[in-house]
């Protein structure tokens, strides 16, 4: 097999192409994001309001089968037109620290601390509410002031209620109504601090 010069060059050309192909030619980059759908494409849009300051920015929570995917500003709201400040933009993390990973610092169970005890114990919500109602009645019955110099005052100074400017109107209304019916006069919320 006498390798003539021409054969030699042919052999050289073919192998060069083969080697080059394996080494460094790349295809057109197919990026994941050229697809037609993104995380919130088929999600349910639930309108809400930001729980932080009092500007009242509209929020949209994107939910797909009870899984929170994203929280953004509501473009329809004439107050914020879809924008949110840093606190509003982080509302997602009240529930989830990452997709599907609940915020581990959220309190998910009722807790009870016995007098002089050095730790929390588990307690069911119903049992907790029963004992709270019991303590309220005991304290009310013992310290209730029905009358003072001839005037019915129906005042209970032994129970105080520190409420919140971060819970809803309906909830604040119920708490005011309930506490006033017990005779509570120590009744406050964030407006005072």
């Amino acid at each position: 097999m006498n390798l003539s010069r021409r054969q030699f060059l042919q052999l050289a050309g073919v192998s060069a192409a083969a080697t080059a192909a394996t080494l460094f030619l790349d295809e057109e980059p197919a990026l994941a994001s050229d697809l037609q759908e993104i995380r919130i494409s088929k999600a349910r849009e639930v309108p809400s309001v930001c729980p932080h300051c009092s500007v009242g920015c509209g929020l949209i929570a994107y939910v797909k089968d009870d899984q929170l995917l994203q929280v953004e500003g509501n473009p329809d709201s004439p107050i914020n037109e879809g924008s949110l400040c840093p606190k509003g933009a982080a509302t997602f993390q009240f529930a989830y620290e990452a997709l599907g990973k609940p915020n581990p610092r959220r309190e998910l169970k009722a807790k009870y601390r016995a007098p002089y005890s050095d730790r929390w114990e588990e307690i069911s919500i119903d049992e907790a509410l029963d004992r709270i109602a019991q303590r309220v009645k005991e304290t009310r019955d013992r310290y209730f002031i029905e009358e003072k110099n001839g005037v019915t005052v129906n005042r209970l100074e032994a129970i105080a209620h520190i409420g919140s400017a971060v819970i809803d109107n309906e909830e604040n209304y119920l708490l005011t109504k309930l506490m006033r019916s017990l005779g509570v006069v120590f009744l406050e919320h964030h407006a005072r601090i």
């Binding site: 309001v49 709201s77 032994a158 971060v166």
Partner: protein, 812 residues
């Protein structure tokens, strides 16, 4: 807020004083900057150069606690140079009225001061009335006893030089400032003042706002487009919680809690109704409230169950009185719903110590808080703490439906996005369950004192979901309904005082109405006005055709009106003053019309109905007149005058009376008040964009803990040089109440203040950090251990904006 964010696009001058919108209400800055782009001058009067100041045209540093000196100086400038809107002042305010002849003001005290009782007898603060019972007036404003002459005399002492010595503002800066602001004292021009805790957290907080009220009324800036005094409220629903009266001194709809002098409903109504104003309808509102609360027990023969409501005496029952009473042993049980007082209260060190006296404590919150765990924190030994503590997990913001009321009274409905996590429940559900259990415990009691619980109207269960309550049913009760049919009323105009209607909060009435058989929740209406500008927002137009106040979005109380007292935007004949009309009187049809819901009743010129006149806009005030003179409405004076904060580095240059006499401080082993010799620096506290009050709602969110992780104390470069402190050094800040360790942030954005020949340094700290709550790595000392419990007599808010402290570098 009397106006709304959308209206601030019409301002010619926007003054941020006692507020920092860019950091605490960032999205509101969108509207302030839109006003600025349309030509408004933005002025920030703040001891610190904040992120708001970074966008302002002028930054005016001044000493914390001297707001009234600055505003007094501006009032004086306006009067001396005749830069006030005379027609507005004469026709729409009580400036022409004659004050009680025996009124006087001398060396810092008003007439009627009783040193023992430490209170004023306010009988000499009223107005002189003629034989027909109407107040006497002199429209020329010349009569020496007119309100106008009184304030002219009182504020004549607030010369630019004197103001400069008190506040540290150079005279020429003050004059430039005064010229710009008082230039709006004419029709067609408007300045808006924007305030927040910077004004309210003082022992004279309410008087700070009163000073701005006088100035803005003199300049004719209340009720006009682009005017007003905008209160940037702190929390998402602080306005709602205030409207629904989670407050010791009030009942829903600002009706006022009865006291021991009101032996029955009639006496209460007689004594607490502001005559000659829309308040004459108060009986309808009060009886409807009692009907909503006590149902069939609210009957005429039972004095409408008025006595079911607890009556207060002369004492205060406010936030700091709660902890003082826990310390004194009066309060045995404490509910804390969604707040962290161990970090958010002034003199925070006192809170966990006195709480050891509690027999039981109930905390309802989303995250763990220092308040709930007080028994093993702050040096407390659990073995010595007898308190029984219950912690109930609360549902997060996206896990419940319901409504919030924002800073400008706009009520918006939230829908539930996901189920509450774990076993957490909504706060309202806990209230409903607790109420049901208490009604059960008292079911067969025959004692009269238990009637308020037995007759309490309390069935709010949600038939479909045992783990939640019926939010809409509560909203219907708030809105008001006809007792017989249960049909919601269409507005407070329909409320009766014969027991035929029930209404939880009259100012919210009209939020849930029936339209062709369907219940329509106005708070849930989401039809904004489409933009009329290429860059996507709605601009007010001179032809008055554009609804730039978005009446189709949410429900604004009262009656979906967006700018209160908007009648004042038109002259006495009903013709709009401003370059943009708000409300006007259509003489052809004899009706009031406007871009906004007119804050008027359909009265003809000269006619008076329910205290409302054709030509006076302030329908909730006596005679419909704006309150330049405060009269007897406030406990610490008819007119605001400058006093030094309780802890001040200097003597009061204006009067012998150093502090406001009505301020209250507390006495306990944990309450101390410092003096300038030991604590020479003025200290102020504030919030940041990235966090909220005690930080429980933000430092538990990793993305926010990351946005601002390291707390700091801001000190001027000059003070840093004096104390040998470099940027980032660990320093100790100390006041009479405690000391904390924090990193130094040396900056040119804080400057030493020259008070006459003296130099005073001011330092500032954010309040968001605490040692226990939050993401790991974002814990620190509580700034509020430094702040004093010295409170304002009208609203009992603490003076945490101006107190005394000292700072040193930590060398060990």
């Amino acid at each position: 807020m009397t106006t709304s964010f959308w209206d601030l696009q019409n301002s010619d001058v926007i003054v941020f004083m006692g507020s920092n919108a860019a950091e605490n209400h960032p999205i509101s800055m969108k509207w302030f900057l839109r006003g600025k782009e349309k030509g408004a001058k933005v002025i920030v009067i703040d001891p610190r150069y904040t992120r708001t100041a970074a966008k302002a045209d002028i930054w005016v540093p001044f000493r914390s606690g001297t707001d009234i000196a600055v505003l007094g100086g501006l009032i004086n400038y306006a009067i001396q140079n005749g830069k006030f809107h005379r027609e507005y002042v004469v026709k729409y305010t009580n400036a022409p009225l004659l004050v009680h002849p025996d009124f006087q003001f001398h060396d810092g005290l008003f007439s009627g001061w009783d040193p023992e009782k430490k209170a004023y007898d306010r009988s000499t603060w009223g107005f002189q009335t003629g034989p027909d019972g109407q107040p006497l007036r002199d429209e020329t404003l010349e009569h020496p006893q007119t309100v106008f002459q009184h304030i002219k005399r009182i504020y004549s002492e607030y010369t630019p030089e004197r103001v400069s010595q008190i506040t540290g503002i150079p005279v020429e800066t003050f004059l430039k400032l005064a010229e710009i602001i008082t230039d709006t004292g004419q029709p067609g021009k408007a300045a808006a003042f924007v305030y927040a805790m910077g004004w309210t957290q003082h022992t004279k907080g309410v008087q700070n706002i009163r000073a701005a009220t006088i100035l803005q009324l003199l300049l004719g800036n209340i009720g006009v487009p682009g005017g007003g005094i905008a209160a940037l409220r702190g929390h998402a629903n602080v306005q709602g919680a205030t409207d629904l009266a989670v407050l010791w001194h009030d009942l829903p709809g600002y009706l006022g809690i009865p006291n021991e002098s009101h032996k029955d409903l009639a006496t209460y109504l007689e004594k607490t109704t502001t005559k000659d104003s829309f308040w004459e309808n108060k009986p309808k509102f009060m009886i409807s409230l009692l009907k909503a609360w006590y149902g069939e027990a609210a009957r005429p023969d039972n004095d409408w169950a008025f006595h079911y409501i607890p009556k207060v005496d002369s004492r205060w029952f406010s936030h700091y009185d709660i902890f003082q009473s826990i310390y004194e042993g009066t309060v045995k049980g404490l509910f804390v719903f969604g707040q962290n007082p161990a970090v958010g209260s002034a003199n925070a060190g006192k809170i966990p110590q006195v709480m050891k006296n509690l027999e039981w404590l109930v905390v309802v919150d989303i995250f763990a808080t220092e308040t709930a765990d007080f028994w093993h924190l702050f040096g407390n030994d659990p073995k010595e703490v007898p308190t029984e503590v219950f912690f109930l997990p609360a549902a997060g913001p996206l896990e419940k439906e319901g409504s919030f009321t924002n800073s400008h009274r706009l009520i918006q409905w939230k829908h539930k996005a996901i189920e509450p996590l774990g076993e957490s429940r909504t706060d309202g559900w806990y209230a409903v369950q607790l109420g049901k259990r208490l009604k059960a415990l008292y079911a067969n009691s025959t004692a009269k004192k238990d009637e308020p619980i037995r007759y309490l109207v309390w069935d709010y269960d949600d038939p479909e979901n045992p783990n939640d309550f019926d939010h809409l049913k509560v909203l219907k009760e708030i809105n008001g309904y006809e007792v017989a049919t249960g049909k919601p009323v269409s507005g407070f105009g329909q409320l009766k005082d014969d027991g035929s209607t029930a209404c939880g909060c009259w100012i919210y009435s009209g939020i849930l109405v029936e339209e062709n058989g369907q219940l329509v929740n106005k708070a849930d209406s989401r039809k904004p006005t489409p933009p009329n500008r290429p860059d996507g927002w709605v601009e007010a137009r001179a032809d008055g055709t554009t609804d730039y106040l978005h009446h189709g979005w949410g429900f604004c109380w009262p009656a979906n009106r967006r700018v209160l007292y908007n009648r004042a935007s038109a002259d006495p004949e009903g013709k709009p003053w401003g370059k943009v009309p708000l409300v006007w009187f259509d003489h052809a049809t004899g009706q009031w019309k406007g871009v906004d819901v007119p804050d008027m009743l359909p009265v003809k010129p000269g006619e008076v109905r329910m205290g409302v006149r054709f030509d006076t806009p302030f329908i909730m005030k006596a005679g419909g007149l704006g309150g330049i003179w405060g009269g007897t409405s406030l406990v610490d004076g008819p007119v605001p005058v400058h006093y030094e904060p309780v802890e001040s580095p200097v003597q009061n240059l204006l009067y012998r009376q150093q502090n406001i006499p009505t301020a209250r401080t507390y006495q306990s082993p944990y309450d101390h008040y410092g003096t300038p010799d030991k604590y020479p620096l003025v200290v102020t506290t504030y919030r940041l964009t990235e966090h909220l009050t005690s930080g429980v709602m933000t430092r538990n969110l990793p993305w926010l803990a990351e946005a601002f992780a390291v707390p700091f104390v801001e000190i001027s470069q000059e003070l840093a040089r004096e104390k040998g402190i470099r940027n980032g050094d660990l320093v100790e800040v100390e006041t009479a109440r405690g000391r904390i360790r924090v990193r130094a942030l040396v900056t040119a954005r804080l400057k030493p203040l020259r008070l006459g020949d003296r130099v005073v340094h001011e330092i500032g700290l954010p309040i968001h950090w605490a040692p226990f709550s939050g993401v790991a790595g974002v814990q620190a000392d509580i700034t509020n251990t430094l702040t004093p419990q010295a409170v304002d007599a009208n609203v009992q808010i603490q003076e945490s904006k101006a107190f005394l402290g000292n700072i040193r570098k930590v060398t060990a």
